[in-house]
Amino acid sequence: MPAPEHHARSHLTIALAVWKALFLREAVTRVSGSRAAWLWLILEPVAHLSIVMLIFSAVRRRLFDGVSFALFLAIGILAYNLFRNCATRSMAAISANRALFAYRQVKAVDVVLVRAFLEGVIQFFVGGVLLAAMSVVGFHTLPHDPLAVFFLFAVFWAFGTGVGLILSAGSTLVPEIGKLATLFFVPLYFLSGVLYSPRILPPEMREWLLLNPLMHGLELLRAAFFANYTVVSGVEVGYLVTSTCASIFLGLALHVRFSSRLVME
């Protein structure tokens, strides 16, 4: 049998080429897809924050000593958006890239991972711009523990990717899963404590709501941001990280198990 006469590319080279091509393909449609799409990326969290502030400013200005409520909300919204956008946009990645599965180099897991990565990059810039703008207006936006803030944002990102992997596979195989997931993201916003700290909850309710890893993440993020913010008991970084790893593992496992069905359906 003659050896293949061409210079075969390694699996890694192919994967990197595919990821780069997909990243640029996704970035083009995300940032220049519709008129001033990049502007909306910034305006969306700003509008979100403004509306919530408008509603709550009448109620209270300061949550705790040294913690501005606007900043408290801003980082909660940024982190939650990072998670939700990663998860929901990667959920739609397979159907949006269906035509590209005509090339065997492109797998379902590639389009999901690349979309989640792009979403992370975008939200990173959006967060940077928002916090910089708040700093200009006079808020003290420099975090108390920057390393922990970066780490926690990375975990939110990874968790969103993991959930995105699960939902992309799940919603492609069983379309109802996609519909339920979309419905579920609305209450999840309120169940994650974006607008409040779990310390204001009654203990028995708090116990239940702390089953949600996002609530742990948001609480830890605030503690990393504000010097004199202490997390409520029961919040653990280990729970958040374990959930993240579990979601990524389950998501990748689904993509391995159903790899051929995901590009076929």
Partner: protein, 226 residues
């Protein structure tokens, strides 16, 4: 060379697994050989092309591509609607590792497709003829040892078809080809060998005419038995 070893394929339907489309196909397709694939509608021609092209996976058996094999060309896939023709072309260049000489290849694709300014517009605005022009141009822009073609030659209007056929001939001369066509004329023009897909199994013929004869006889016999 492509090795197809005891490949079985059936599709999943809404009512569980469907019937076997391919039942133990075993073939060795050498590079630089032009092979015509014949068989009735639903005999599994496109399925076999998709399996060889690696965009689908066999339920049983294995397929080894020991040379550069193209994607299955011509069934309308491979173009992302929200991207322009140019962006699609760039994407295909990138995933095939042609980042360095991308400009030349894009220029070739743009030149060959002859779709004018539409090259910068989203593909979803294209007519089916424009789409097939772009697809055909894309398929010519890369060097493969074996091309997989599912009725590619029927692309575009009369003027384009003429150009496409002569380009296809040059391609068939320099590389291997596995093609499906319902035109006996095209098959005998481009192919030397033939594969007849019948009842989920494949029969190899060194001469395409023998394959066509076997296929046409089977149709005639079925017609007679009715």
């Amino acid at each position: 060379m492509i090795v197809v070893d005891d490949v079985h394929k059936r599709y999943r339907t809404d009512h569980g697994p469907g019937k076997w489309v391919l039942r133990g196909v075993t073939l060795t397709i050498p590079s630089k050989t032009n092979v015509g694939l014949v068989g009735r509608n639903g005999a599994g021609k496109s399925t076999l092309l998709r399996l060889i092209g690696g965009v689908d996976v066999a339920n049983r058996g294995r397929i080894e591509r020991l040379c550069r094999v193209s994607w299955p060309m011509g069934f309308g896939g491979g173009l992302q609607g929200s991207l322009s023709g140019r962006q699609n072309a760039k994407f295909v260049c990138r995933i095939h590792g042609h980042e360095a000489d991308m400009a030349e290849r894009i220029a070739f694709i743009q030149d060959f497709a002859e779709i004018g300014e539409a090259f910068e517009e989203p593909v979803k605005t294209y007519s089916s003829g424009m789409k097939s022009r772009l697809q055909f141009a894309l398929s010519l822009a890369f060097d493969f040892d074996i091309y997989i073609s599912d009725e590619v030659t029927s692309a575009g209007d009369a003027a384009f078809q003429e150009k496409a056929l002569s380009a296809f001939q040059r391609l068939a001369d320099r590389a291997g080809l596995i093609m499906v066509s319902h035109s006996d004329g095209l098959l005998t023009e481009f192919c030397t060998a033939g594969i007849w897909l019948n009842r989920g199994e494949a029969v190899w013929f060194d001469d395409i005419n023998d394959a066509l004869q076997a296929y046409n006889q089977s149709i005639a016999m079925e017609g007679a038995s009715l």
